[in-house]
Symmetry: C2
Subunit: 202 residues, 2 copies
């Protein structure tokens, strides 16, 4: 399988950490496919018209995206414990937390794009800051229950969230606001899956 | 169940059309919860820190989002044919197409926000236009296979995509570019689920 990849995309990293944890990373061949909101990748668009990575090409020529769909697919390729519960309340909690963490990443990416503009819209910057406050509060309130569950998609995505905050939002002192999330993250960041996908500065 | 709702959100409409098709719409109590990118809803943020609708509150106090998770949950509440295939290749095709249609809606919403700004970024407007071209091309290429499959999440989302293009992007002559999608949409728009959720101008 070919994964359209870039070293600094948090959604790509989510898939890579997930693949490591699921034990299927050796089946992924990564190709560097740079994308940016203002610079669509013309080679990627015929595969994924939304122009985002990760995008996964399967051996039969079919294509999968977005990152959540790719993770769910990878979770069917191994015989270990599932990283996404198959059914029942545990599934809905996992998927809701994944949607929270993924939506938080989306918010952070849009925030970063907006604040870099010459004419950033103050109301939009305020809205992103407010959502970030609420997201951090929600994670801090839930992290102990999240940590008590089997390793899964929500933990993987929150591992990436913490790392992305460090990488792109060093000005937000998220550890001071979220001591429990910070303590959990310090341990999670030591996992081989996270160590193998550390984001290079640049 | 309480669905945080707004009449003009395409993601809310997706859930409502899906609920009609799944036969569970009577179980949803809708409450009007306006949100905008620049105006977060302070009552919604404690339930969903990303501040988006639809957000579903369950009787036990738990909360579900985003729209895809809500649809998957609703699909477990009825005994009819599933609108999201449970497994196998049909599932991955359905979820990939749902991701395409949902990502297209995200693109259109960001495009609309950007073009309304006093200082819209030309590169960003161009990128949204290019992704829209590719998305319409992909839908047009796939619509016959989509239409040949049992009614499901991809069809529901594409039904909403066509209606949203009409509502917010009347300047794009998508029917001329996509005659097969247009023919399919003309029929799909007659379904009771679509008729019951028509978007009022305003």
């Amino acid at each position: 399988m070919t994964l359209h990849w870039s070293p600094r995309s948090p959604f790509v990293r989510k898939v890579m950490v997930f693949a490591h944890e699921a034990g299927v990373v050796d089946r992924l061949r990564t190709v560097r496919t740079p994308v940016a909101m203002t610079k669509p990748n013309h080679d990627l668009l015929p595969l994924n018209p939304i122009g985002k990575i990760p995008t996964l090409e399967l051996p039969d020529g079919s294509v999968l995206y977005d990152s959540g769909v790719i993770c769910e697919y990878l979770d069917t390729l191994h015989d270990g414990p599932r990283l996404i519960p198959a059914e029942g309340p545990a599934r809905w909690v996992e998927l809701r937390r994944h949607a929270m963490a993924t939506g938080f990443l989306d918010t952070l990416i849009l925030w970063r794009n907006e604040r870099d503009k010459q004419h950033a819209l103050p109301e939009l910057l305020d809205a992103f800051a407010l959502k970030t406050q609420h997201a951090l509060r929600a994670i801090e309130a839930e992290i102990e229950d999240i940590a008590a569950r089997p390793l899964g998609l929500a933990q993987v995505t929150l591992g990436v969230v913490g790392a992305y905050l460090d990488f792109r939002f060093a000005d937000i002192d998220w550890r001071a606001a979220c001591p429990r999330f910070a303590a959990w993250h310090a341990e999670f960041a030591k996992r081989p899956s996270m160590m193998a996908t550390v984001v290079a500065e640049g």
